[in-house]
């Protein structure tokens, strides 16, 4: 639009802000090119001089923006610089964070430390499960019909009050049909995804003042207690305990830990202390997420154990050993790992 105007006249007539723009525009254009390059190939794709140039041009553009706000009323210019600086800022200050080593760090320090910082939420999580289990167990012996209230029909699979002892024993040791390895793997993966969905649910609902997490975990405990009571009544208490232990020590603990993560969030919102609720949520969210990741990891292990080992290992003693051995391993890891030198008293 300005090729019809002779350049010399423009120079003379130019507004101060237009001159300012004309003088610096090549630098901004260069920055645009560099930013585009960094956006498509990452900052690692820039060579040394380009990276240096990017930093320099970014600072100049920032200065231009500050200046332009003070001397120019050209909206096109102000918007352009604003957006250009925002884009460049994203490239310069918000690069892709490297994930190498993050997983190892999480296992060595992040998770164990987060667990040791969350004793109260963990207490809430485990006591919710325990209270539920005790309640379910006791209520079942008072009146068997509670079983139908606690355990949804789809889950019980014929294991209900009145089922024969033989049938119940079969559910603990039988099912040779499931022994092909393909099916076992699929079963394990299915169990993992199903349980993890439940854990996500329990964890996330914790944000509503921890109450739903507690209720859901308590309900899971009720089911567990009623189930166990059913087998105890049939005289299969020891076998059922072994059957539950091999995967349950890990799986049920994982659910409790997911509940603890939710409780951590809920408590942060409920009792923020001196902080604002938002800040408190953000601060405690870090540990809560780590608790959840631990729950996810444990559910993965539990899925494998439940899907594969439970079907192939049939001796109750061995089941107990594997289950509680695994539990001991978790405990040892969470208790000992990631302690820094000064922690010893």
């Amino acid at each position: 639009m300005n090729d019809q105007v002779s350049p010399s006249r423009i120079e003379a007539e130019l507004l101060r802000s237009a001159r300012f723009r004309k003088l610096r525009e090549p630098g901004w254009r260069r920055l645009e090119v560099l930013v585009k390059q960094a956006e498509t190939h990452g900052t690692a794709g820039l060579n040394y001089t380009e990276a240096k140039e990017l930093a320099a041009q970014y600072r100049q553009a920032m200065t231009s923006l500050a200046l332009a706000r003070d001397i120019s009323l050209d909206l096109a210019l102000l918007n352009y610089l604003d957006q250009l600086c925002a884009r460049a800022w994203l490239v310069v200050y918000v690069p892709q964070r490297s994930l190498s080593g993050a997983f190892g760090r999480l296992l060595r320090q992040g998770i164990p430390q987060a667990v040791r910082r969350s004793l109260l939420p963990l207490l809430i999580g485990f006591s919710a499960m325990l209270l539920g289990a005790i309640t379910g167990f006791v209520l079942f012996f008072r009146d068997r019909s509670w079983f139908y209230t606690f355990v949804p029909g789809g889950l019980s699979d014929g294991r209900a009050p009145g089922a024969s002892v033989g049938y119940l024993r079969d559910t603990l040791y039988g099912d040779a049909s499931l022994h092909s390895s393909d099916v076992l793997t699929a079963f394990a993966a299915y169990l993992f995804s199903h349980n993890t969905n439940i854990a996500i649910f329990i964890f996330g609902l914790g944000i509503f003042w921890a109450l739903p997490s507690f209720v859901l975990t308590f309900y899971n405990g009720l089911m567990l207690g009623a189930f166990f009571a059913l087998f105890v009544q049939a005289g299969l208490g020891y076998d059922a305990f072994a059957w539950l232990s091999i995967h349950g020590v890990t799986e049920i603990s994982a659910i409790c830990i997911a509940c603890a993560g939710g409780a951590r969030l809920g408590l942060a919102g409920l009792m923020p202390g001196q902080m604002s609720r938002k800040d408190s949520l953000r601060l405690h969210g870090r540990d809560a997420v780590k608790l959840f990741l631990l729950a996810g990891l444990m559910l993965l292990v539990a899925g494998v154990v439940e899907g594969v080992l439970r079907q192939t290992v049939t001796s109750p003693e061995l089941r107990l050993l594997i289950g509680w051995g695994l539990g001991g391993f978790w405990l040892l890891w969470l208790w000992r790992s990631g302690r820094t030198g000064g922690a010893k008293v």
């Binding site: 130019l14 604003d82 925002a86 892709q96 199903h194």
Partner: protein, 306 residues
């Protein structure tokens, strides 16, 4: 870097175009930059796109596997369950980690997650915001879809709880100043529109035609708000004939307001408006250099209309 409340007005001059600007986002250079927050509509659209894309992927994969007969039927159901799990939270976490805060849907819509503390987006932030996405979006959606619509008392209570829950998570981001949903608050993240820098021509560079001139009193009436509104009108790309009529109307209104002879404008209002824009900008910018920012026509030195 920090956010402050609206108290200091000097940070970003408000202009006609800024609507959903993130207030006072200050980089280490100390110059506030104005990110545009993504609208909830755009974010919703991105999620829907993600849902469509991921389920399309599952559908095609299952069809391919079933057609090739790679797996027995029982394993196929397990596969669906597993895939359904992986396109939930894991997909969003992994894609936001790989593409630095953008899922496929967000890429298409052109929005991006950034950390509110202006640092690089951390893995735990991505996990946190997407874990809660399940509670805020997928779980209520799934429940509403699979709801057993019978009217027992129990189901009514459950429905009431679901309704309150859904309303709470839906209203929260609407009420939130920075449009953060619960997951964003826990993670400390914001969703912004990916900035696009386009430099439009400088209107003040066009040559003045027709020899319009304005005296100081005429240029002391309007402020920068009016100037920038005029700039927006002059840039309006619409080619319709109505636009020309609008321009004529604007030119007339300005002429009346500044006591300029309406007949002098001529048949085409554009040269007049361009000349006025240039002179008005020069005047206001020179006042700006002396530290006087005239926001709009209600500034202190404005002559009162007769």
């Amino acid at each position: 870097m920090r956010f402050r409340r609206k108290s200091d007005k000097t940070a970003i001059p408000r202009n006609a175009a800024s609507k959903r600007i993130l207030e006072n986002f200050i980089p280490p250079e100390g110059v506030p930059i104005g990110f545009e927050l993504a609208s909830l509509g755009a974010r919703f659209g991105a999620v829907i796109l993600d849902l469509i894309l991921t389920w399309l992927f599952i559908l095609l994969l299952i069809l391919a596997v079933a057609w090739l007969g790679l797996l027995p039927k029982t394993a196929l159901f397990a596969l669906v369950a597993i895939l359904a799990f992986f396109v939930g939270v894991p997909y969003y976490v992994v894609s936001e980690l790989i593409w630095n805060g953008r899922t496929l849907g967000k890429r298409i819509v052109g929005i991006k997650v950034i950390s509110a503390d202006s640092r690089a987006l951390g893995a735990h932030q991505v996990v946190a915001r997407n874990l809660l996405k399940d509670i805020e979006f997928f779980a209520p959606l799934g429940m509403a879809l699979q709801w057993n619509y019978t009217s027992t008392a129990q189901s009514w209570i459950a429905a009431a709880i679901l309704l309150v829950w859904t309303l709470f998570v839906a209203i929260y981001p609407i009420r939130n100043k920075r449009k953060q949903r619960l997951g964003d608050v826990v993670a400390g993240t914001l969703v912004i529109v990916k900035p696009k820098a386009i430099l439009l021509d400088d209107l003040a560079l066009t040559e003045a035609q027709g020899g319009f001139s304005f005296d100081q009193a005429q240029l002391d009436i309007y402020g920068s708000y009016e100037l920038q509104t005029l700039e927006a009108i002059l840039r309006d790309p619409s080619k319709n004939p109505l636009h020309a009529a609008e321009l004529a109307k604007v030119a007339k209104a300005i002429a009346r307001r500044i006591n300029y002879s309406e007949h002098a404008i001529g048949a085409d209002p554009r040269p007049f408006l361009m000349a006025f824009y240039r002179d008005q900008r020069e005047r206001l910018e020179s006042r700006l250099l002396f530290g006087e920012r005239r926001q709009d026509k209600f500034h202190g030195d404005a002559a009162k209309p007769k």
